[in-house]
Amino acid sequence: MTAIFKREFRAYFHSMLGYVFLTIFILLSGVMFLLSNIFSATSSMNGYFASMISWAIFILPILTMRLFSEDKKLKTDQLLLTAPISITEMVVGKYLAAVGTFLVGMAITLLYPLAMSFYGNVPVAETTSSYVGFILFSGGIISIGAFMSSLTESQIVAAISTYGVVILTMFLDMMSSHVKNAMISKILLWISPFDRFDDFTLGVLNIEAIVYYITIIAIFLFLTVRVFEKKRWS
């Protein structure tokens, strides 16, 4: 697994892809930081994370779009499937490489609270829990992207279908507020990854939300493994 992780992580930074992702991520993130913190004169990063959550949907598929589809297109997936590692290890290794690249970007954003600490008090609890929440949320999006990438040979299709799935979940919040039936409304909100994020911004580490995000990640990685298992049989 570490071999796959290393190979994939390096691949991000040997091609332009990793740098393009990081540049876009840090640029957007910098603008959001400037608008929601510096110009708004607050050290609370709630506004920043609220906007970054929307942007993450559009940026993170850049990381995942070629994760499996590239191998499929180049037929190197045959090599991976016959390599002396389990499919699970291969999938998790690749997933972690994408997460690792995302975390490089997140590490750079730690400069924001650091910079703000020179101008006022930074709410450590809220900032920490928001970071935890945002990383879990993004981990979920990356796992959805990874799954989509395993279904297709085309990077574009992988990226766009990821947008599709995630945007669909965005509507869950809206739908739930229009549904009269309390039970259905509750179930819709339960599925929504956006609704779960709120607690984190308040400085509360909600075990339910953490378990939920980890479940999302596990389910989509499991489905990805199933896609490759199926390939073995067909």
């Binding site: 930074f13 040997h14 091609s15 332009m16 990793g18 740098y19 393009v20 990081l22 540049t23 840090i26 640029l27 910098g30 603008v31 930081f33 400037l34 913190n37 510096i38 110009f39 004169a41 607050t42 050290s43 609370s44 990063m45 709630n46 750079i108 400069l111 924001y112 910079a115 703000m116 101008y119 006022g120 008090n121 930074v122 709410p123 609890a125 809220e126 920490t128 829990s129 607690d199 308040l202 400085g203 509360v204 580490l205 909600n206 075990i207 339910e208 378990v211 939920y212 479940t215 596990a218 389910i219 499991f222 489905l223 199933r226 298992e229 199926k230 049989w233 067909s234």
Partner: protein, 470 residues
């Protein structure tokens, strides 16, 4: 056949795993509902009360009932959580819910006739004295978005308890008669803090004996000998006063020389701050962010990094001595050392620096204490080069991130001689304010939006270009 069998198997596995995942989440939810394991990283901060209040509650022995004007189900749980801390700390304090739907006349005796109490109001009742807070008094609300930005339950309840337990009132007079400015914001703030606030025409009336503090806000005509005699009488009885000027209050020769006896000389000028880090973000160069000098009044603000004073068009003050025959002068706020002053105010066309403008660090606010026989008998004056924007209401200024009212209430508490200062800060629901000068904002913007992304991109292009030729 084999393939079909596989498909069925595979579907069963997928459905099974999904079911287990959902079930696991439901189990966690059920578990969390029974044993709350939300790790509240902030609970001790937002919903707790400070050591200052605990210290105050230790010696609090007035039986008090705090009424919440709402049923258990409708009450504001944030407020209730904090009130419970008071009741836990001191058994004289009882908390009781009163549902106005069931008991609609309950609130009547706590309001002036004609007024009514709203749901979720808080009443602190000690029998003969009481204090009422509307639900909106307990939060700072952003005027633009109408959302609560911070919670000040502790600030209000502690002040309210202190008020109902005491039997003396502190009376403040706003002086009129010389074209003074109306400081509506300061009046409202002082009333909210349980001061008795009155107006007084110094030309026609004497300063009454119940006056403990007078406020002179930017007079436009000079004081007469008879006015000054009234001031003399007032100060001889441990009087406390605030003299707040504006650049438009000019040539108040008699008043200036009266204040000069206290070691503070008032100048008819405005201070201009060329130092970008001492000017309000996007402001013009008369909107000074003053430098806080260390003192009893300012130290707490410096510690909390609440160091914005928004001090527009300030007059400068010359401090003639630090200590001289029983008079102590203390500088509170000053400009940066790059500031300069413009003097010919009435013909002023531009605040650009021209030759001959005096340059240096100028005091813009100071206090002077004339020592009496005991600290209780001290007479004290606070002199400021502006009215500190006190005509604007406190919430508005605070929401913009200006610490003016924090500074002002510290001054008032200092003049009032309350060493045990209970002006407790509101607890932010949206995070603390940061104060970034224009220059720093531009630098931060350039670094985070241009420099860092560009570095990453250039590094990427270099790596890519190198590898292309491998």
């Amino acid at each position: 056949m084999n393939k079909r069998k596989y498909l069925i198997n595979s579907s069963v596995i997928v459905v099974g795993v999904l079911a287990i995942a959902v079930l696991f989440n439901i189990l966690v939810s059920v578990f969390v509902a029974k044993f709350p394991v939300k790790i509240d990283l902030t609970s001790s901060q937002i919903y707790g009360i400070s050591d200052k209040t605990y210290e105050f509650l230790k010696n609090f022995n007035t039986p008090v009932t705090i009424y919440i004007l709402a049923g258990e189900a409708e009450q504001d749980t944030n407020v209730r959580t904090i009130l419970d801390k008071y009741a836990q700390a001191n058994s004289n304090i009882k908390i009781q819910n009163v549902d106005p739907n069931e008991n609609p006349t309950f609130g009547k005796k706590y309001v002036k006739s004609g007024d009514s109490l709203y749901k979720n109001s808080i009443i602190i009742d000690a029998g003969d004295r009481f204090k009422v807070y509307k639900s909106s008094d307990l939060y700072n609300v952003d005027a633009q978005t109408n959302t609560a930005t911070s919670i000040k339950v502790e600030q209000k309840i502690t002040a309210g308890l202190k008020y109902v337990a005491s039997d003396t009132d502190f009376t403040v007079y706003f002086i009129k008669g010389h074209g003074e400015m109306e400081l509506d914001g300061a009046k409202a703030k002082l009333e909210a803090e349980n001061f008795i606030v009155k107006d007084l025409n110094i030309v026609t009336d004497d300063i009454p004996s119940d006056a403990q503090m007078i406020i002179v806000a930017s007079p436009t005509s000079d004081y007469t000998a008879s006015d000054l005699a009234k001031l003399d009488k007032f100060f001889s009885n441990a009087g406390k006063a605030q003299f707040l000027f504006e650049y438009s209050s000019l040539r108040l020769t008699n008043l200036y020389s009266y204040i000069k006896e206290w070691g503070i000389e008032v100048n008819d000028n405005i201070a201009v701050e060329p130092n970008r880090s001492n000017i309000l973000l996007l402001g013009n160069s008369s909107l000074i962010l003053p430098v806080f000098e260390s003192s009893d009044i300012t130290d707490a603000l410096i510690k909390d990094q609440r160091i914005v004073g928004y001090y527009p068009y300030s007059k400068t003050l010359n401090l003639l001595f630090e200590s001289n025959s029983g008079i102590e002068v203390k500088k509170l706020l000053s400009t940066s050392s790059d500031a300069y002053v413009k003097t010919d105010i009435e013909n002023l066309k531009s605040v650009e620096k021209s030759e001959g403008d005096k340059t240096g660090s100028f005091a813009v606010a100071a206090v002077s204490t004339k020592q009496g026989d005991s600290p209780k008998d001290d007479s004290i004056i606070f002199v400021s080069g502006t009215t500190l924007l006190l005509d604007v209401d406190a919430d508005t200024l605070t929401n913009y991130g200006f610490a003016n009212y924090d500074l002002y209430m510290n001054v008032v508490n200092f003049l009032q001689g309350s060493k045990d200062d209970y002006s407790i800060q509101a607890k932010s629901l949206i995070g603390d304010t940061i104060t970034v000068s224009t220059l720093d904002a531009i630098i931060l913007g350039a670094v985070f939006v241009i420099v860092i992304p560009l570095c990453v991109l250039i590094f990427g292009i270099v790596v890519w270009a190198r590898r292309r030729h491998l």
